[in-house]
């Protein structure tokens, strides 16, 4: 019992560290043991909630297809979630163009999931352009992680 408590506390510390440093949310995978199967936490940590894109591109890459395949399997298993795919861009584009590019990325991920058998009616999209960076940063590594489509569940 006290062992589990200690583990939870450790996991919480990792989460706080991840938040405060704006690091990759994958850092939270230290908490893998504590998530309930079928929960949003399970989806984020064990499936992966985001795919990444090349500069000025909305083509889903091979690594992204693998993530989306896992997402599709999981979403078929847990059919009670409504899904919003958020499209994002790095900061090296103009605001309005990036809103459109984010929409294009979200749509690319959505079409891929539809092709894997997820009903279109479950899948909404929204673009945040370059308005919601994660992580906040102005180097190649930050930009690469900001060119993303995030599958958000509710």
């Amino acid at each position: 019992m006290s062992m589990i408590k200690a583990l939870s506390a450790l996991a919480a510390m990792f989460l706080i560290a991840a938040c405060s440093s704006n690091n990759d949310t994958q850092t939270a995978s230290a908490a893998t043991t504590s998530v309930t199967p079928g929960s949003v936490g399970d989806f984020r940590q064990n499936v992966g909630d985001r795919v990444f894109f090349d500069t000025d591109s909305s083509t889903v890459r091979e690594d992204g297809r693998q993530t989306l395949n896992r997402q599709a399997e999981w979403l078929k298993k847990y059919g009670n979630y409504q899904i919003t795919i958020e499209g994002h861009c790095d900061e090296r584009g103009t605001r309005e163009y990036n809103l459109a590019l984010g929409e294009r990325r979200a749509n690319a991920a959505r079409q891929y999931l539809i092709a894997q058998g997820i009903p279109a009616a479950r899948l909404k999209t929204v673009s945040y352009g370059k308005e919601r960076p994660d992580p906040v940063g102005s180097d190649e590594a930050a930009w690469a992680r900001n060119r993303r489509a995030v599958t958000a569940l509710e």
Binding site: D56, T84, T94, Y97, A100, V126, D134
Partner: protein, 440 residues
């Protein structure tokens, strides 16, 4: 707001002492067609008759100095300490401090109103260059100061001023990954700042209607609702949705006559341009491509629209007829071109350019020739024109580091690329939109 009543002050009497203008001396005129010129040295004496007179002179000094076209002579240098607003000054005293122009004024209370008389003396020729009288409400003193600044600017440069204007922009606060972005509006010099949206959802890209009574902008809906275009009355704050479409609608901009709003609508990975009739709310499609067509802007005469599109690969600038059709590419340089904005004069298009080395703000003629870069940096974006087409405003974003978002600020620059200065804002700021002159 009661509009100021204006009359012309006569009195350009050539005096017996009229100086023989030395050719070496500064003149009270600037030939703006010349590639370079010296700023005009000008003295602006505190207006007499009321404590607000010193504040008015302060606003005028700040405006003229910030334009880069004037050099304001500090009051500590003045020889004639007491200058009457109605009788001619001692011109030799002003010549010896190097002034080409001298501004004097008088504030008088008339019932519940104030009467402001101002004169611009040409120190070189010992003549009155211009003079105006205004009657208005006392709380209009700041606006009167801007109107007087515009009159001085026009007399000296031969072109309309831009001081009696407002700036709408996006105020940015909070952490970089969850930034609050609100629409704000302020006077051109940063005074009278106020917020038009509450910051609960992200609001971006404000643009004025030609009468300044309304702005259009894009905002997200509550609970992560998709972005939509809103039309909002600047004074009453009343806002309405400008069309509720299945896709995201954004990048709105008024036509020069204010009857239409052009915007982008994105759906299924395609972003096309549409035009909405403001009164009837009919929507009309202007482009039909699988590409991203966005950042549309009307020409000054309303007959054409410039926009950016990636239909040919990288983002480039295109011009088409206002009703759609006749699309032709006008930008051909290296890099990506974005956010084209047509000058109110019709002669130039300002744009953001993204190259391998960073971002730049530039101008080109409306046929795409004569490209010239004015400013550059890690991230500079979103030019907007002063109503006289001589000055641009844009925003600069500094790089983020250590998880901290880089600061964003508004800057203005002369069309020649000179006189860049930061425009003061209470918070970080982006997406400036310069209004037309406020109707008098």
């Amino acid at each position: 707001m009661m509009l100021p009543r204006r009359t012309t002050l006569l009195g350009g009497v050539a005096l017996a002492t009229a100086g023989i203008a030395s050719s070496a001396r500064a003149q009270l005129t600037i030939d703006m067609t010349r590639p370079s010129f010296e700023p005009v040295p000008i003295a602006i004496v505190d207006f007499k008759g009321d404590s607000v007179g010193a504040q008015m002179a302060g606003v005028i000094r700040n405006n003229l100095q910030n334009s880069g076209l004037f050099r304001v002579i500090p009051s500590s240098a003045y020889i004639q300490k007491d200058v009457d607003a109605t009788t001619p000054p001692r011109f030799p005293d002003w010549r010896s401090v190097g002034a080409a122009g001298l501004v004097v004024g008088q504030v008088t209370s008339v019932g519940g109103s104030i009467k402001v008389d101002f004169r611009l003396w040409d120190v070189v020729t010992s003549q009155q260059a211009t003079g105006l009288s205004f009657t208005s409400q006392p709380n209009n003193w700041r606006r009167l100061s801007h109107i007087i600044s515009d009159a001085i600017y026009k007399r000296v440069t031969g072109e309309e001023g831009y001081f009696d204007t407002r700036i709408a922009y996006v105020s940015e606060t909070g952490p970089g990954n969850n930034r609050t972005k609100r629409i704000a509006v302020m006077d051109q010099d940063g005074a009278n700042n106020r917020y038009l949206t509450d910051g609960k959802t992200i609001a971006l890209t404000p643009r004025f209607s030609p009468t300044l009574q309304e702005i259009v902008y894009m905002a997200y809906g509550e609970n992560n609702g998709p972005p939509r275009v809103y039309l909002q009355n600047v004074d009453s704050g009343r806002r309405e949705l400008l069309g509720n479409f299945p896709g995201m609608s954004f990048a709105p901009r008024f036509s020069p006559d204010g009857t239409k709003v052009v915007m982008s609508i994105a759906e299924n990975g395609r972003t096309n341009l549409y035009e909405m009739d403001v009164r009837g709310r009919q929507l009309r499609r202007l482009t039909n491509s699988p590409a991203i067509d966005t950042s549309p802007c009307f020409s000054a005469d309303g007959s054409q629209i410039v926009f950016n599109s990636d239909r040919g690969g990288a983002q480039q600038l295109y011009v088409m007829s206002a009703g759609g059709g006749g699309e032709r590419r006008i930008s051909f340089g290296d890099g990506r071109y974005a956010t084209p904005v047509w000058s109110p004069r019709g002669d130039f298009i300002a744009f953001t350019k993204i190259g391998s080395g960073g971002f730049g703000i530039g101008v080109m003629r409306s046929d795409g020739s004569g490209e010239r870069m004015l400013a550059s940096g890690f991230l500079v974006e979103g030019p907007t024109w002063a109503p006289n087409g001589r000055v641009l405003m844009f925003f600069r974003q500094q790089p983020s580091s250590g998880g901290r978002v880089g600061s964003a600020s508004l800057h203005q620059i002369d069309i020649t690329g000179r006189f860049e200065r930061q425009v003061p804002t209470p918070t970080d700021a982006s997406d400036p939109a310069w209004s037309p002159l406020i109707p008098q």
